[in-house]
């Protein structure tokens, strides 16, 4: 597709439920990022992949958060035992470059997760 595709667009989870959020990056993009955006705030970095390798996961808030990109394209962000503080928009971005600063850093529209 022409852009970064994320699914589902909206997810309502009961507290304690596990959720999986999917990101389809732009075809051929090497780098993939996950960000968390709380209401009224700027996005905050969660994790970064270069192809299938997870190079940086320093932003994952707890061991309940897990991300994978097994074949270097589609990525899944999994949150186990969801808590109310996990409610946010989860943004995925991809970039064609492995070096910093590429103008091709494209965000998807995000998945809005609401934990009730």
């Amino acid at each position: 597709g022409a852009g970064v595709s994320q699914s589902p667009r909206y997810k309502v989870a009961k507290r304690g439920q596990d959720v999986a959020l999917r990101c389809d990056p732009i075809s051929g993009h090497v780098s993939l990022f996950w960000y968390q955006q709380a209401l009224g705030q700027g996005p905050e970095f969660l994790t970064y992949f270069q192809n299938e390798a997870q190079l940086d996961k320093s932003g994952l808030p707890s061991d309940r958060f897990f991300a994978e990109r097994p074949e270097g394209s589609v990525s899944t962000l999994k949150i186990q035992r969801t808590q109310q503080e996990d409610s946010a928009v989860y943004l995925c971005a991809s970039s064609p470059w492995s070096r910093q600063g590429a103008d091709g850093y494209t965000f998807g529209s995000g998945t809005r997760l609401t934990v009730v």
Binding site: F33, Q41, E44, Y48, L91, W97, Q100, G101, Y105, F107
Partner: protein
């Protein structure tokens, strides 16, 4: 620790006016300074970016001014239009951490017709 401070939080400008949003950062290791525009229900979209080897960059109605010694940069939107009404985020990045970006808190801009 808030690495990127953005101001103001909200801004109202008349159509045709100049919108100015400011950003300050702390870590001198940053070497990439983009501005993103975000509409409700959409992801952020890159507007314009600058590197520290230049003090100003202009693209159409959008200009970044960069002051390396003060560790500040700003976005100027000339001839602001109602369609510019959105939330704007500054960000900083460093090649030493891949393409990871640290964002400011955002500025909600409203341009009145």
């Amino acid at each position: 620790q808030q690495q990127v401070k953005q101001s103001p939080q909200s801004l109202i400008v008349q159509k045709g006016g100049i919108s100015i949003i400011n950003c300050a950062y702390e870590n001198t290791a940053f070497d990439y300074f983009p501005w993103y525009q975000q509409f409700p229900g959409k992801g952020p979209a890159l507007l314009i970016a600058i590197r520290p080897d230049v003090s100003e960059k202009k693209e159409g109605r959008f200009t970044i001014s960069f002051n390396k010694s003060a560790k500040q940069f700003s976005l100027h939107i000339m001839d602001s239009q109602p369609g510019d009404s959105a939330t704007y985020f500054c960000a900083v990045g460093s090649g030493r951490r891949g393409n990871m970006l640290t964002f400011g808190g955002g500025t909600r801009l409203m341009v009145k017709p």
